[in-house]
């Protein structure tokens, strides 16, 4: 009478039916305890009471049902221990006690159930050790012990269960060697300790291995490293350790790997790129270091890549831009440097991009605007420079934008107002100036905004998200109507209407006047220009300073702007304390390194004198350990220094990159150190 709406307790009189062989009362609403008199049903072979609301403990008398073959009591509210008498049910083949509130430990007598094929005790409150007698269940093919409070380690005897092909419980025993055809091993969310056994996957049959959320320590066993049958591996949140480069091999069928929250160190092996079926790789929250291997770009099925919270360094490889299915890229909290490769703009499926908390520099590439499916963009806590490009406004599905804590300058582009789905916006802690575009009134979905710690001025948008003080504090001169903590925007801003007529008249008059003055002035200037071919450093108009040693200043300035070109992020090498370095190929041939100094506030000319004398000193120096300064340019818009270009990059990079460091043999290193030493003696660095 299964699957009915029977309610009320099981009457003890049912137990008078002594010839009953099958009692099926599952999936009803039966309440109360299992009566003690159940023991009278000596002929019972099948007892299904699962999926009810039975309470109380399993009566000892259950052990009297010696003909019982199939016992199902799952999905009830049974409490108390599993009775020791269970061991009497010698012909029991199926025992399901899962999804109850059984407590105490698993009785040793369980080992007497030699006919048992299926044993499920999962989702209870069972404690203490798994009895070693479990090793006697030689006919067991399926064992579920997960979601209990079992502790200690698994008894070695589990290795005797040679028929076992599905094992789902807690910790791993040492003697796994004999379970050679184990396909699936599920050990999650228990308190198990110890190392992963060296016998796992000896038979190369293991496909699914999950040990998430335990206290496993030690390295990945060799047998697991060579386990080529692996399809899905989850070892998150343990204390596993080992050198990442050595711990794993190549797995042709591997689909999903979760290793986050462990103590792996060393470098990320390029072998992951050979896992052509890999869709998910998460090694976040470990101690891995070195560069992200470019070979990862060969794992073409990759959809989710999470390497955040490690010590990765070097550049983001542009090869990642070739991954056609990548929709989630998380590299936050590392030491990555250099620019965002332009190729990342080709990731048409990308929905989440998080590169926060790194040392990424150079301007944010415009190509980011091509990521039309992007919904979350976080580039905060880096050293991005230059302006926020208009192109970011093309990403119409963006709901979260965080560019805070960078060195962004320039005005906020009006096109950002087109982000109608934007819910959170953080531009705080930058050097943004000018007024907030009127288009920001269109940000109808905005719930949380932060533009604090910038140099912004003018009216705040009429949106609730900008109302709190924390959202706009520490700017230059913001104003707002209907906002507390903020002065109302002055009436003079309304005057432009009447003002503009006057302005037009004044403009016309002054234009005519200027035109006249220009004609006269240019005549005199023309005379002067014919006398001078080159402009010297002294006595020139401070705002118009073009001096390159031995070259035609204005032309070289133009060449440099063309060679970089116009300081795009493609040619950006890196950003330091004083400026950003670009590689410039001049049309006349030579390749130079151009350091564009950070724009001083308000075009401060006062420092120019100090700048000039320093330049003089530097151009006189010819020392073999100092990069030769070829010249400098200083104009109202840009100031830059021009050095000879060194192919190898910075000394620091060379020494920290193992490959490059190997090329520096001992003599070369000695000479380099000597050189730095000499340098410091002379100039007291």
């Amino acid at each position: 009478m299964g699957i009915n709406n029977l309610i009320g307790p099981i009457p003890s009189s049912i137990c008078n039916l002594r010839h009953l062989t099958t009692l099926i009362l599952h999936t009803n609403s039966l309440i109360g305890p299992i009566p003690h008199s159940i023991g009278n049903l000596r002929n019972l072979t099948t007892l299904h009471l699962y999926m009810n609301k039975l309470s109380g403990s399993i009566p000892q008398e259950i052990g009297l049902l010696r003909s019982l073959n199939d016992l199902g009591l799952s999905y009830n509210n049974l409490i108390g221990p599993i009775p020791h008498s269970i061991g009497n049910l010698r012909i029991l083949t199926r025992l399901y006690l899962d999804m109850n509130k059984l407590s105490s430990s698993i009785p040793q007598e369980i080992g007497l159930l030699r006919s048992l094929n299926y044993l499920s005790l999962s989702n209870n409150n069972l404690i203490s050790l798994i009895p070693s007698s479990i090793g006697n269940l030689s006919n067991l093919t399926t064992l579920f012990l997960n979601d209990n409070k079992l502790s200690g380690s698994i008894p070695q005897e589990i290795g005797l269960l040679t028929s076992l092909n599905f094992l789902e419980f807690g910790a791993l025993p040492l003697e796994m060697n004999n379970i050679t055809h184990l396909k699936s091993l599920q050990l999650y969310e228990n308190n198990f300790i110890g190392q992963l056994s060296n016998g796992i996957c000896l038979g190369r049959a293991l496909e699914n291995f999950t040990a998430t959320g335990n206290h496993f320590i030690g390295p990945i066993p060799k047998s697991l490293k060579n386990c080529t049958s692996l399809f899905r591996v989850r070892l998150e949140r343990n204390q596993l350790t080992g050198d990442m480069a050595e711990s794993f091999g190549v797995y042709p069928n591997l689909n999903f790997v979760g290793l986050s929250g462990n103590n792996f160190y060393g470098e990320l092996s390029e072998k992951w790129g050979q896992c052509h079926m890999l869709t998910h790789l998460n090694i976040s929250n470990n101690n891995i270091s070195g560069a992200i291997p470019s070979q990862l770009g060969k794992a073409i099925q990759l959809q989710q890549l999470d390497l955040s919270s490690n010590h990765l360094s070097g550049k983001i490889p542009k090869e990642l831009g070739v991954l056609p299915l990548l929709f989630k890229l998380l590299l936050a909290n590392n030491n990555l440097s250099g620019s965002i490769p332009l190729k990342l703009g080709k990731l048409a499926d990308l929905q989440t991009l998080d590169l926060a908390s790194n040392n990424l520099s150079c301007p944010i590439p415009k190509q980011i605007g091509n990521l039309w499916k992007l919904s979350s963009l976080n580039l905060s806590e880096n050293i991005f420079v230059d302006s926020i490009w208009d192109e970011i406004g093309k990403i119409h599905h963006l709901d979260s934008l965080d560019l805070s804590q960078n060195m962004l300058t320039g005005e906020i582009p009006p096109l950002l107002g087109e982000l109608q789905h934007l819910e959170t916006l953080n531009l705080s802690h930058n050097g943004l100036f000018g007024t907030i575009p009127h288009t920001f009134d269109d940000l109808i979905s905005l719930i949380v905004a932060d533009i604090s710690y910038n140099q912004l001025e003018g009216p705040l948008p009429n949106i609730k998200a900008f109302a709190p003080f924390e959202a706009f504090k520490d700017n230059k001169d913001l104003c707002g109507n209907n906002f507390t903590h903020l002065k109302p925007c002055s009436a003079s801003l309304k005057k432009p209407r009447k003002f503009s007529v006057l302005i037009i008249i004044l403009l016309v008059v002054s234009t005519l006047f200027l035109l006249f003055a220009f004609i006269i002035g240019s005549y005199f200037l023309f005379q002067k220009w014919r006398k001078r071919k080159t402009m010297s450093l002294e006595g020139n108009d401070v705002k118009d300073l073009f001096t390159i040693w031995g070259h035609d200043g204005k032309l070289l300035y133009k060449h440099i702007i063309q060679g970089t070109p116009n300081f795009s992020s493609k040619h950006c090498i890196g950003t330091g304390g004083y400026g950003t370095v670009y590689k410039a190929e001049l049309p006349t041939g030579p390749v130079v390194a151009v350091k564009k100094l950070h724009s001083p506030e308000d075009g401060d000319i006062a420092d120019l004198k100090a700048f000039k004398s320093e330049i003089h000193a530097l151009t006189q120096i010819r020392h073999r350990n100092i990069v030769k300064l070829n010249g400098f340019c200083s104009s109202a818009e840009n100031s830059f220094l021009i050095y000879e270009f060194l192919e190898k990059g910075s000394l620091r990079n060379i020494l920290t990159n193992n490959e490059e460091a190997e090329k520096l043999d001992w003599n070369m290193r000695l000479n380099t150190v000597k050189g730095v030493q000499q340098c410091s003696v002379r100039f007291r660095i």
Binding site: M51, D70, R94, Y118, T141, F144, G258, T279, S445
Partner: protein, 213 residues
């Protein structure tokens, strides 16, 4: 209906020695049932393995720390098919993002059971039928975007009780009747309603009269 699924749950492992934990998670079941109605030519749902103990490692599904589904991000995925009542079982869902696909059929009224829902983005699909009144039960709802579909009928007046509603867009549908003006509707711009067959804003001061359409 729930019990018969559970019955199957229990029977299968016994009869067929299938050791899958196919049914220990009702949210996974609900999503699996959804998937069976859908056509997915670009294999966006390929990772949706029903034998896993919960759907929290499925791609485009986000869970909270208690393994409850809080986000479903299937926008721009080339998916077609219809939604069923099973979506209402995702009791902790906060973001339902199904925009820019080829979904058809009705918007199930069971979506009104998603009491923590913050965002319902069904825009740019082929949904038809009426806007279910049950959406008015979603007291946390902030974003309701149903634009660019084939919805008919009127806007249920009950939606004026959604005090947290910040953005509503029903433009480019086949809706008729009057546009409510109470509660949050007072701040929605006219663009949110354009390209429909509305007879204009609701007349204030008179007994509310459903013109029917």
């Amino acid at each position: 209906m729930n019990s018969s699924i559970s019955f199957l749950c229990f029977l299968l492992p016994i009869l067929f020695s299938v050791t899958s934990t196919l049914c220990t998670n009702s949210e996974g079941n609900a999503l699996h049932a959804l998937r069976s109605r859908l056509s997915d030519p670009t294999n966006v749902l390929q990772s949706w393995d029903p034998t896993l103990v919960n759907p929290c490692t499925w791609f485009h599904v986000t869970c909270d720390s208690n393994n409850h589904v809080i986000r479903l991000d299937l926008g721009n995925s080339n998916i077609s098919g219809s939604l069923g009542p099973e979506l209402g079982q995702l009791q902790h869902l906060q973001y339902l993002e199904l925009y820019r696909n080829y979904f058809e059929g009705k918007i199930p009224e069971e979506l009104g059971n998603l009491k923590y829902l913050i965002s319902m983005d069904l825009y740019d699909n082929k949904f038809e039928g009426k806007i279910p009144k049950s959406i008015a039960k979603l007291k946390s709802l902030r974003f309701l975007r149903l634009n660019d579909n084939k919805l008919t009928g009127s806007i249920p007046r009950e939606l004026t009780t959604l005090s947290n509603l910040k953005v509503l867009d029903v433009s480019n549908n086949n809706l008729c009747g009057t546009i409510p003006v109470d509660g949050p509707f007072a701040s929605f711009p006219m663009e949110s309603f354009e390209n429909n067959r509305f007879s204009g804003p609701e007349l204030q001061g008179l007994v509310p009269y459903d013109f029917g359409c």
